[in-house]
């Protein structure tokens, strides 16, 4: 019973995060900012929904498969967003409304 409600809560939170990702995608100004918004859907939202399904399923095998799906998504998500950003950057797309587009010489930690 507790598991059931925990699972429902995860589903609800995951759905809210999916909505947030979509909203961020619409509201943010350029491709780079939008990738950040989609980051919410591809990390926490996906994890929450998969965890919810994990709690719902009773057999061990589907649970293991869900864990594998989660694992693969955690590898492919960031790689895909990097590929997207790199392609945009090399295509000459620069972030809109940046304080200092281009290269900031050194971070506070410095080189």
């Amino acid at each position: 019973m507790v598991l059931h409600w925990l699972s429902e809560a995860c589903l609800l939170a995951g759905s809210f995060l999916l909505l947030t990702g979509a909203l961020g995608f619409l509201r943010f100004p350029d491709i780079y900012a939008r990738i950040h918004a989609c980051g919410v859907t591809e990390t926490l939202a996906t994890s929450l929904i998969l965890v919810a399904l994990l709690l719902k399923s009773e057999a061990a095998l589907p649970q293991v498969k869900l864990l594998f799906i989660l694992l693969f998504l955690m590898f492919s998500g960031p790689t895909a967003s990097h590929a997207l950003a790199k392609a945009a950057w090399q295509g000459g797309v620069r972030p809109r409304a940046t304080r200092d587009a281009g290269e900031r010489p050194a971070s506070p930690a410095g080189r």
């Binding site: 900012a33 918004a37 990390t43 967003s81 950003a85």
Partner: protein, 156 residues
């Protein structure tokens, strides 16, 4: 040879966890496919400490636990920024140092940056990362080097 055996073991485990059919015929076919794939990968000479990173297995859980907390925190941060009446963003592009020497360490670091929403690796050079951050403070938080230091710890 060590890597080949490790690869075969991991593949067998993966097959067993995914299959769910444990009669002789299915197990036989599973064993055949594992052997075939292991042989192909062995022939390709694609097996080294990178494809079977056994040295990471012990240290990885601790890093992943820490990373999960970071991902959670940055997700909540982005949610806050998205739902504000005026979207609260001030994007910055910065070069960050990339002290990791092994390819695996560099990929783990860059992917960790991507995994936390709000920071995104655009490009990777010999000794720097080009990072896009949704705001200056996210970038500064990254530049404090905690993540970088943890990854370096991992690859040692």
């Amino acid at each position: 040879m060590r890597y080949t055996i490790a690869m075969a073991c991991v593949l067998s485990l993966f097959w067993l966890l995914n299959s769910g059919h444990y009669n002789a015929a299915m197990l036989g076919m599973g064993a055949c496919s594992v052997l075939l794939v292991t042989w192909i990968v062995h022939r390709m000479q694609a097996l080294d400490h990178e494809s079977t990173p056994a040295h990471l297995v012990l240290r990885l859980p601790r890093y992943l636990g820490w990373l999960a907390l970071q991902v959670l925190a940055s997700n909540l941060d982005i949610v806050r920024r998205v739902w504000r009446r005026e979207t609260d963003i001030d994007p910055v592009v910065a070069r960050l140092p990339l002290p990791q020497s092994s390819d695996l360490g560099r990929v783990i670091y860059a992917n960790s940056i991507n995994l936390t929403p709000g920071t995104l690796t655009i490009d990777m050079g010999e000794d720097y990362l080009l990072v896009h951050a949704l705001s200056g403070d996210l970038c500064d938080a990254l530049a404090t080097d905690e993540m970088s230091a943890r990854v370096s710890e991992l690859e040692r």
